[in-house]
Amino acid sequence: MLLLGPLLIPLITAVLTALLTRHERARRYVSLAGAVALLACAIGLLLAVMQEGRQSVALGNWPLPYGIELAADALSAALVLLTALLGFAVLLYAGRWQEARDTAGMYPLLHGLLAASSAVFLAADLFNLYVWFELMLIAVLGLFVLGGGQRHAEAAFKYFAVSMLGTLLMLGAVGMIYGATGHLNFSALRMAAQQPELAGVLPVYVVLLLLAFLLKAGAFPLFTWLPASYHTLPTPILALVGGLLTKLAVYVVLRLLGDVFVAIPGVLLEALGWLAVVTMVSGVLGAAYHWDVRRILAFHIVSQIGYLLLGIALASPAGAAGTSFFLFHNILVKANLFLIAGLMWAAAGHHDLRRMGGLYRARPFLAVLFLLSALSLVGVPPTSGFWGKFMLLREAFAQGHFVWGGAALAVGLLTLYSMSKIWVEGFWKPHPNYSSDHAAALAPLPRTAYAVVAGLSLAILILGLFPQPFVQYVEMATAAFWPARGML
């Protein structure tokens, strides 16, 4: 049941919170209880995986590959735990968040999103994976329109219109891969894909499937839905969506290329590498353009996706380990930055850097927390971001991909450019409307929210200062499924 928990607990919580339409307080408590239970279950799952190795369940007790399988290995168990942690943090933060108040739908939708995310990490069946992506899509759409304003609806529409293309492509590709192999289960697909008569022809469909997930991941130039919509979400929700969603798709790409369709032609991986580089640069340029903190951070998601894809394109255990470490780091840091952006908004009264300022004087502790996360995003040692970036850089150079590695470094500088913009304009510059004494008295920040940010920052700090166990963990986790590609 440990394997089902991460899916069922949030799903049941979602149902319960949706049924408690008239009891605001009860809804919050049920929601928190669900988040705690999910966290406990995820920890249990991780421990089980570490002790007993890969966990797998065949639903309905039907033999595989006929039934549906859910499975957790070291990588997915850790990501489920991260999802649970993030869900808990965000729900705690959102408790009394002014932007997200009076929205009966928020809790069930957030839990629905958590259920779908965990299920994506655990799915070991291609069609099942598609179903969970659909659940995620509808939950996110619901979260978009929660505010009920014109901009929310427009954002939802843009998000929907473009992502739907990816969804349909995914469905079509899944269907065709089934048609070609006769299988949906990951292990069965891996076996089938290596049959000599299929090995050459299957990649045609695998490419389509990967494209669908690249769209969901926000790779260049398929990311237009992301910066068009993300900034309209209330901050707590944005933290979960922005921290998690695109990374789910990256995880799937990693899983598919590393575990399922291992015989992809090298030229396609090469192409993926260049795509990663362009994604990195394009995202960071978008971030350099914007002045709205949320939009800067949203574009940075795109840029970081580039790094994640780069590690996959390197197609080696070390590259995959780099991507996995980067994934952990990025989920935490990106979510935390969005949460901090929310606190900045609460303290300075605006999201646009031209309309805010004075936060360094008014909120020195918030400034320190921001600095930590920002430096981590830039990849300054010894923050979590550096280790992931270094693992990717080292592997890129070792393989002779100097341009890829160089681009990763240059993008780091551009990331520094926009992070220092937030720091200089938001924290150092005096507030355009208030004197620095006034800004301090503007609004008391919600204490729980502050505590959540501090807690996440602590996690980031630990990941930065003591990376060894985590690096070892991802190396072990990826070695478990990433085949030695030299053999192929």
Partner: protein, 128 residues
Amino acid sequence: MSLILMLAISIAVAAGVLLVLSRDVFRLIVGLAVLGSATNLIVFAAARPGGLIPAVIEAGATQLPAAAANPLPQALVLTAIVIGFALLCFALVLGAYLVRQGGQQNVDRLAAAEPAATDPVKPPVLEQ
């Protein structure tokens, strides 16, 4: 797989793409619905259907005859139809809301979340 089905699916896809690229909110949504139907057919066609015998075990028999249709893609398509329908309902309502609330039928003029820039290098300020 029958050529005629392949052609029909391809034409439906092309028509769907044309609709999706339309400037009209409603046409766009219908386009996605058409593309969705075509995609369902792709999944269905992937199993190379051709026979007429449904995947139902006859009274007296204990298993499907070999000539029966492949039941798995049918189940997948059924799931996909339902999901697609749920999303279509949402999309129709979303479109209606956009048109009513913003009075805008043109998908290229949805500028509340992404207003057009006026400054040469800086983006416009979003008022929340």
